[in-house]
Subunit: 223 residues, 2 copies
DNA sequence: TCTATAAACTGAACGCGTTCAGTAAGGCGC
DNA sequence: GCGCCTTACTGAACGCGTTCAGTTTATAGA
């Protein structure tokens, strides 16, 4: 019984790792399900026995990455950074570094905006992964004793997550050498983001903040 | 000669209109190139003689829409709206109304973030259309005598265009009845956008504005 | 009017992701 | 050991977008 499920688990892992290797080497689109099966020495149908689609292979990669990243991110957050900006910088660069070897694969994930498409970062299929990811921003915010405005605070993790997704999207399609444009974008945008969050605590900004919170409620709230 | 090109032009138009009708009825993905050819009474190859791909049909629709929209938008801008917010509101709602019958088709256009994919709003293939679209925001800005900060002004049309794309993207996937969520989003976000533009003129905001302009230069500037 | 050359098509064939009816094989009750 | 059921696979076939070697059609030039 254990041997049975174990063998099965091995086959699954073999197919996944073979697929990821091929995706890395020649890109997601260029790689064929038949190639994956041949390389893993199974029949075409076997890949579909374990993964319901080609996309599902990427989703499995995404889930695995998130699981591997979680301790890395926890470790990064445990280091005493001096402020939110430093923590966000560390979080995001850690992710980019981690995904570097699979940048092209990530583009398959980021390519779709349709929340109905399972590979979309906004899809139901990737919900669990997304929510865990948003948690890491919650932690980055909680690491200070700084009080964020009560109305805005519950939305901040999701807002920062969206910001991060924007950076990653830019990075995925960044053709500049070493993706230096992305790093410039990060250096330029991060101070603005953190500055805006700081500004939002000023009494003077209450009206604008109120409008913003209403906007966020409209986006994430019920119909 | 005229009859020849005319006949050819008719065939092209027939294929395009047949395709768009089918897309409208049953959606982009469900519709088959073979169906389009059959319905238009030509061979499968003929559709590829006129349109290099299924996507190209959508791109032709996009180009045609933009051409039809231009006079509509000019007319809307000619009406004396009291401020930028009113003009932007008019521009965006006019577009949404225009695209209403083809909402699902638009989702095929909005589905891809990859600037390398021809259907992406950021692609080279849609560049001409995009630039004309950005022009309409230039006009909306120029309609007042209001002076925008010299450093920020050149970027504003592209920024507003991105804002509009966000709204349209939300609208395309908005499942609420009559897409009322989108309209709520528009009502909530537009005041913020125009308020921020106003605030940017304040001397107090100079440092933040400078950061923002640097950010925009980093995004749109050279490597 | 005839001919050659380009434009306007044709439809079989290819490669792909995906499906599915079928087959092997391991474990469990007897 | 024997039947039986569930799990693990097999590979041919389907439908799709796309390609391409042809065939027809129209017209410009002799």
């Amino acid at each position: 019984m254990t041997t049975k499920t174990q063998k099965s688990e091995e086959t699954r892992a073999l197919i996944l790792s073979t697929a990821l290797a091929l995706f890395r080497e020649q890109g997601f689109e260029k790689t064929t399900m038949r190639e994956i099966a041949a390389e893993a020495d199974v029949a075409l149908g076997a890949t579909y026995y374990y993964f319901s689609s080609k996309d599902a292979l990427v989703l499995a990669f995404y889930a695995q990455s998130q699981a591997e990243l979680e301790p890395l991110l926890a470790e990064v957050l445990a280091r005493k950074h001096k402020n939110l900006q430093a923590r966000l910088h560390a979080l995001i660069t850690t992710k980019l570094e981690y995904f570097q070897p699979n940048r092209s694969l990530l583009s398959a994930l980021a390519a779709h905006t349709d929340p109905g498409h399972s590979l979309s970062p906004f899809s139901e299929d990737s919900r669990a992964i997304r929510e865990r990811d948003i948690q890491s921003f919650q932690q980055a915010l909680d690491a200070d004793k700084v009080k964020y405005p009560a109305d805005l605070a519950p939305h901040l993790p999701a807002v920062l997550w969206i910001y991060q997704m924007g950076i990653i999207l830019y990075w995925v399609y960044d053709q500049s050498p070493g993706q230096r444009r992305t790093f410039r974008l990060l250096e330029k945008s991060l101070p603005i983001v953190t500055r805006l969050i700081q500004l939002s605590t000023l009494p003077l900004m209450k009206p604008l903040r109120k409008l913003t919170v209403e906007l966020l409620d409209a986006i994430y709230g019920p119909d």
